[in-house]
């Protein structure tokens, strides 16, 4: 057992650099200082989360929070979500879907697959900042050292 409280690492999968920057800025502004690792494509993100062999072993002792965009160049975020939620080491990591799609069927599908939060990217800045701030609060909660 590691006595040191394990910090939560934020994995951000977002192909649009602008969106990535805005998300990061707003997370920071909300006072969340956790490490953010950004990926702009699904393949490298999956390699980091599940390891190169796809076993999920590297994440066994890590605490991850995954921010997922659905429109990625090499795969859809839904594929990543399904893989993460199917792996025994990562399935308890919270996943936040952050995308432009507000199609009800798509949202339902993500929740069915085990997504924890679904946020539609609003163009309205105030709404967007608010959503990110809520996320920040969420992250703060996550920072409480886990007992196991």
């Amino acid at each position: 057992m590691n006595s040191e409280p394990q910090a939560v690492t934020i994995v951000m999968v977002e192909d649009d650099d602008g969106h990535a920057r805005l998300i990061e800025k707003n997370i920071r502004r909300a006072g969340v200082n956790n490490e953010i690792i950004a990926f702009s494509d699904g393949t490298s993100a999956l390699e980091y989360i599940l390891g190169s062999d796809g076993s999920g072993e590297p994440s066994a002792r890590r605490h991850l929070l995954i921010l997922l965009d659905l429109n990625l160049p090499d795969m859809t975020g839904v594929d990543i979500l399904a893989k993460v939620k199917a792996n025994r080491h990562t399935r308890r990591s919270p996943v936040v879907i952050l995308t432009t799609t507000d199609d009800q069927r798509e949202i339902q599908r993500c929740y069915d697959l085990g997504a924890n939060v679904y946020i539609t990217k609003p163009v309205n800045y105030e709404g967007f900042a608010n959503a990110i701030r809520q996320l920040g609060l969420f992250f703060s909660v996550m920072q409480i050292p886990e007992t196991d």
Binding site: H19, L22, N71, T100, V123, N124, F128, A129
Partner: protein
């Protein structure tokens, strides 16, 4: 095989005509031949009567002569019996013979002559018999011996035989004529029968061929019909697929347009934050220099940011509209039985408050027929039209909006009429296009409502049209099928 009805009718008529002509000829020749046969038969009878009469006369003559000889030989009066019978009948026989030959000029003379000869003969016979009866047999025999009586008899017999031969010849020729007529009749009948058979089989051939052509043509039409249906089905599927593609296209495009918009919006906000930081700093620094920078931060930059924000907001609304249209196009319609009266009353209640504030009125002209359609689509169609009517009322007069329905075949027409500001004639088509609006732009809106309404109405299998006069009012007519049936779209999905 091409079928020419004209040629079929022509040849059929020609054959019918030919058959008729043959039948007429056959009947005519039959009548003619039987008439000839009747004439011949009459002639034969006549000839036979002449022959019988002549024979009888000859027999009488010979009987009378034999009786004379017998009486002269034996002086027995019994022998005279045949003579007396002959005398009693000869005049009648001669008269008969005369009448029989009356029409024949060549024979009249002969018959006259014969009559004289026979009368002379009978006179001679009467004379000798009278002498014998008066016991003057030698004188009587003397007369017989002169051979005058025998010569008279020979003369009469010769003439009678001539007559007989003539009658025989006439009989023969009649029989020959009858035989040849009979042969001709049978020949004509056989020929006619053959011709009728030919005409009949010709007609049969033509009819059979024509029937076969008709059957072939019908089969072809049936095949064409089947393939036509198949082709229509293929086209419908293609169209549905194309439609689906357009919907997907609109959906994807609007999503991809949204991503950069998020950036513009987000970084505009970042800029705003930056500007306010700079502004605060400049305020703190103070001093005369930097006045231009202060003006830029205080006025120019917020103005620019304001325009950027307004534009991006507008663009977001447009993209949302496209998305909504695309999503509406992909939504599965669920037809159900709908009481439109209640639905309209609910929609009207939504605008009632706004309307009565300005002294306006909205009413439904009852009855409104029931129809089977998609409830959500109908709500959006009539909701949009009622909203538009309220939105574009003329401020100068109290608004009057009425909704009525009329039935025509399988369609129901709904008229939403108002006395609002109206639409200029050149805009009647444009208003149904996406993002297009008409008249004074003094009301909120993106030009989406009517485009959306038209898309919905068409999806429900109907159409929408507008009648309007600028400054007088507008009537939108929505025509919907009484019963909505899923068609091409159900094929695609």
């Amino acid at each position: 095989m091409p079928i020419s009805n004209a040629s079929f009718i022509r040849s059929a008529l020609a054959l019918l005509g030919a058959g008729l002509v043959i039948l007429i000829i056959l009947a005519g020749s039959s009548v003619w031949l039987s008439e000839r046969t009747r004439e011949n038969a009459a002639d034969v009878l006549e000839a036979q009567r002449i022959r019988a009469g002549t024979s009888h006369l000859l027999a009488l003559l010979l009987d009378a002569e034999s009786a004379q000889r017998g009486f002269l030989l034996t002086h027995e009066t019994a022998y005279l019996e045949p003579y007396r019978i002959a005398v009693g009948q000869v005049t009648a026989d001669l008269d008969l013979l005369k009448t029989m030959h009356q029409g024949d000029a060549s024979q009249t003379e002969l018959v006259e002559h014969l009559s004289t000869v026979i009368q002379e003969k009978f006179a001679e016979l009467a004379h000798t018999i009278a002498l014998a009866e008066a016991e003057q047999r030698p004188e009587a025999l003397e007369i017989v011996n002169t051979d005058r009586g025998r010569k008279l008899t020979d003369d009469a017999r010769e003439k009678l035989t001539g007559l007989l031969n003539r009658a025989d010849a006439r009989l023969n020729s009649d029989v020959r004529a009858m035989t040849s007529d009979a042969r001709f009749l049978s020949f004509a009948t056989i020929a006619g029968a053959i011709l009728v058979f030919l005409v009949g089989s010709g007609s049969l051939f033509i009819v059979v061929r024509h029937t076969r052509d008709v059957i072939a043509a019908r089969t072809e039409v049936l095949t064409l019909n089947e393939t036509l249906e198949e082709r229509v089905k293929e086209r419908t599927t293609d169209l549905a697929r194309a439609n689906e593609e357009i919907q997907r296209f609109a959906y994807i495009v609007s999503h991809d347009l949204r991503a950069p918009l998020v950036n513009i919006m987000g970084f505009t906000s970042e800029l705003e934050v930056g500007v306010s930081t700079v502004e605060q700093f400049l305020e703190q620094v103070g001093g005369g220099e930097g006045e231009a920078a202060r003006a830029a931060v205080r006025e120019d930059m917020p103005e620019a940011i304001g325009f950027i924000r307004a534009s991006t907001k507008r663009m977001d609304r447009l993209i949302n509209a496209i998305l909504r249209l695309s999503r509406e196009g992909r939504r599965t319609l669920a037809p159900e039985r709908i009481n439109l009266e209640t639905l309209l009353e609910q929609l009207m209640a939504n605008v009632q408050h706004q309307l009565s504030e300005a002294g306006g009125k909205i009413a439904v002209v009852k009855p409104i027929p029931m129809l089977v359609s998609d409830r959500l689509a109908l709500e959006q169609i009539f909701g949009n039209l009622i909203d538009n009517a309220v939105k574009y009322l003329d401020a100068g007069r109290p608004g009057r909006i009425s909704i009525s329905a009329s039935e025509q075949g399988r369609l129901i027409h709904f008229d939403i009429a108002d006395n609002g500001r109206g639409i200029a004639a050149q805009d009647h088509d444009r208003i149904f296009d996406l993002f297009r609006r008409s008249g004074v732009q003094d009301r909120q809106g993106e030009g989406i409502g009517l485009a959306h309404v038209r898309a919905l109405v068409r999806r429900l299998g109907g159409d929408i049209s507008v009648k309007s006069e600028l400054g007088a009012g507008t009537t939108f007519r929505v025509s919907l099928p009484r019963v909505f049936r899923q068609t091409s779209e159900s094929v695609a999905s």
